[in-house]
């Protein structure tokens, strides 16, 4: 595989300097693909085709196989996300306590459905399986620039307020 990117202006390794220390540590350690993908997503926010090719080149694993692993696990994203990732819990306790109405409220307020990002790039909505805060159902975790924050006992009205507060801080 060529080391050139699609436009040919830079080498792949120049574009992914931030990932180089991870590759140095894990590229040749068998079984490290998931760890590498996690680090890459931590740095770039998502897994672009370019980063997949870069990892393929460094590890010797075929890009198709990397794509297979990346699409198998719920954590990996192939598209960029907004500044704040809304992880809306859809666990059993949240479902029983009305998580669907919270999702409707978010969709109504922001105009995005599960997996989508707002046009201004502030929010991405992702439904997740269970956040383990079942006694506070319905629950949502927001991953933003300043780390994670969990919100419990949500109502359609309170979730809108939370979203407005985050937006005003952005």
């Amino acid at each position: 595989m060529s080391d050139k990117t699609c436009c040919g202006c830079n080498t792949l390794s120049d574009n992914f300097k931030e990932l180089a220390p991870t590759m140095e540590k894990y590229a040749k350690v068998p079984g490290s693909l998931i760890t590498i993908l996690q680090k890459a997503q931590d740095i770039y926010g998502y897994l672009s085709p370019e980063v997949i090719y870069y990892i393929a080149k460094e590890t010797g694993i075929k890009p198709a196989k990397i794509y297979g692993v990346a699409t198998f696990y719920a954590q990996f994203r192939l598209d960029p996300i907004g500044d704040n990732l809304l992880m809306l819990c859809k666990g059993t306790a949240c479902h029983v306590n009305g998580a669907d109405s919270i999702e409707e409220a978010i969709t109504e307020h922001l105009g995005i459905a599960d997996g989508e990002t707002t046009e201004d790039g502030i929010f991405t909505l992702n439904n997740v399986a269970c956040l383990g805060c079942c006694s506070l159902a319905p629950v949502m975790m927001v991953q933003g620039k300043n780390g994670e924050e969990t919100y419990g006992n949500l109502t359609p009205d309170s979730v809108k307020e939370i979203l407005d507060t985050i937006k005003s801080q952005n």
Partner: protein
């Protein structure tokens, strides 16, 4: 005096960090010499944030739902050694903990998870030291056999048997793995242990690793639990510093170390062979057994996998003896089990009780019964692999055998309580939606069968059920069970089978009468405003689609063609004037 604020994920979500910061601020302002400390999840999740004020080493007063505004009053009273009645825990709420028998949760809410010294103070690492320095591998396994400990992750397989098999199999390296990928939606006891008492897991893994002859342990932890990973890392570093992990642990000549591998979100990785595939960096798809992981697991070496709760029991068993553990519970299901009470329950949280206690005692005795005093309908146990147990069976003792007989499973211990407003067909649809998404795709019956079942269930809940749907569902259930390689597919039909067994009339109502008795399936209900409407206009202002019209002080009307049946009007109406049919 010492002030301890519970800061598990639940506590933090309700504002424990702000409460803690406020205490620190006030103490600093007043120039006082009082320490503000952190602990993990106490277990009374419904009362968070929880603050304990220690008057001396062992005595504390517990305050609940402590918001930033309450901090000053509590501190003021406590400074003159008096209780602030406003937030002091009530007698009934205190019983939530005192009625339990806590082994796994022995340190929950009592120690600072980020300080190894506090764990050592409560006899921490004594069991590991005893096992590694003065017991043989067989003696450790024997003690676990006497205790009768069975896997707390779901299957309930005897722990000693797995350890022994891994010990007897030969390999260049042996691995001990902790499944901390708590995937069952509705179960959170593992998170609580990881966040609140990480050293008990590490100690359990040292003992298990020694018993089977492993030199390396791996904790496979959910990526959705960032706080758990952070606290585990701190705990492992501290254990290494003390010489409890690494080379020559406890000066015994035995080497053992641990590392964390963050999972990437796949429910099927709860299956042992899928978890191993994931550890090896592959798609987490199950492999054919045999060979079992005890013979050929991680990198084809003998591997033993237990879950967090199982390991957390181990130090207690070695320290107190297997018999003490085995004396609790029933003949076949010994010891205690932690249950995560959630759903429509008054007091949600973590409950650890001896096995064999009737469901009723857990749900009503400890959990306080149903929210808003509605009628109890069923309890869902075992997550997507389990089933719904109806109210007629509420006296069932909680043991592996008795729960299996109902068609549900103990599983990892999630108990989701449901009231009359929960539709059982929708519940089945919810779980099939989950398993359909989480099926790895290897077996046709699981991959396609769960999709077909979901389609049928969606149709039924949308009011388009057909004659013959129930029979078709049943046929698919049995075929998927027979045609799937791993536990996910083999148990995926359980939520449907149990609801069909106990709530068949609800399926029939949906299909033949186009009626949802729980008034939950949107396509089958209709909102109407009755004559007792006072015309306050509140509902019309709240309606997100502008379907409600009317003039002030006159009965309002809902435009059925616009109504999206969100139920916002019912929640807002102060006069109970909106009827759901």
């Amino acid at each position: 005096m010492k002030i301890v604020v519970g800061q598990g994920s639940c506590g933090i979500a309700t504002g424990a960090k702000k409460t803690s910061a406020k205490f620190e601020e006030l103490i600093k302002d007043k120039g006082l010499d009082i320490k503000v400390d952190t602990t993990g999840c106490v277990g009374n999740c419904y009362l968070e944030p929880i603050v304990d004020v220690y008057t001396d080493e062992n005595n504390f007063r517990r305050y609940t739902k402590v918001s930033v505004e309450d901090v000053e009053s509590i501190l003021e009273k406590e400074l003159s050694n008096e209780a602030f009645e406003g937030n002091l825990i009530g007698e009934e709420d205190a019983k939530f903990i005192s009625k339990q028998t806590r082994i796994v949760l022995r340190n929950a809410g009592l120690i600072n998870p980020e300080k190894i010294e506090e764990y050592i103070e409560v006899a921490g690492y004594e069991a590991a030291k005893k096992a590694v320095c003065s017991m043989t591998q067989d003696e450790v396994i024997k003690e676990i056999e006497i205790s009768g400990l069975r896997g707390r992750g779901g299957a309930g397989f005897p722990t000693w048997f797995k350890w022994n098999a891994a010990k007897q199999n030969k390999g260049e390296n042996k691995y001990i793995v902790c499944n901390a990928d708590e995937g069952d939606p509705g179960a959170f006891m593992d998170r609580s242990v990881l966040e609140g008492d990480p050293h008990s897991l590490i100690e359990g893994m040292i003992i298990g690793g020694f018993a089977m002859g492993a030199t390396e342990g791996i904790i496979y932890c959910r990526a959705e639990y960032p706080l758990a990973i952070k606290r585990l890392e701190i705990a492992m570093d501290q254990a290494r510093e003390k010489g409890f992990l690494g080379k020559n642990i406890f000066g015994s000549g035995y080497d053992f170390d641990l590392r964390i591998k963050a999972g990437a979100g796949a429910f099927v990785c709860g299956e042992e062979t899928a978890l191993i595939a994931s550890l090896e960096g592959e798609r987490g798809m199950p492999r054919l057994k045999p060979p079992f992981p005890a013979a050929k697991g991680y990198w084809q070496q003998p591997t033993n996998i237990n879950n967090v709760e199982t390991f957390a029991n181990v130090p207690w068993i070695i320290y107190n003896g297997g018999k003490a553990f085995g004396d609790m519970g029933t003949e076949a299901s010994k010891g205690t089990k932690v249950f995560a009470l959630a759903g429509k329950i008054k007091k949600g949280g973590l409950v650890e009780v001896p096995m064999g206690l009737p469901l009723k005692d857990v749900i009503f005795g400890i959990g306080g019964g149903i929210k808003n005093d509605k009628e109890f309908k069923a309890v869902q146990m075992g997550g997507p692999s389990g089933g719904c147990i109806p109210k007629e069976l509420i006296d069932t003792p909680v043991t592996y055998e008795d729960i299996n007989k109902t068609g549900a499973i103990v599983g990892s211990g999630g108990m989701i309580v449901m009231d009359e407003s929960t539709c059982m067909v929708d519940m089945a649809r919810y779980f099939l939606d989950f398993t359909k998404k989480e099926s790895c795709g290897k077996c046709n019956y699981c991959r396609i069968g769960t999709k077909r079942m979901l389609e049928i269930l969606e149709r039924i809940t949308q009011g388009e059920g057909r004659d013959g749907d129930i029979e078709l569902l049943e046929e698919l259930c049995y075929k998927i069970k027979d045609g799937s390689l791993c536990g996910l597919g083999q148990t995926a039909p359980n939520p449907v089978l149990t609801t069909l067994k106990y709530f068949r009339n609800e399926y029939e109502d949906h299909i033949y009468n186009k009626k949802c008795t729980a008034k939950s399936c949107k396509s089958l209900i209709k909102f109407e405003i009755e004559d007792n409407c006072k015309g306050c206009t509140l509902c019309s202002r709240k309606c997100p689609v502008g379907a409600i019209t009317g003039t002030v002080k006159e009965v309002h009307v809902i435009d059925q063609s616009k109504c999206v049946k969100c139920g916002r009007c019912v929640e807002t109406c102060k006069f109970d004037a909106i009827n759901v049919e």
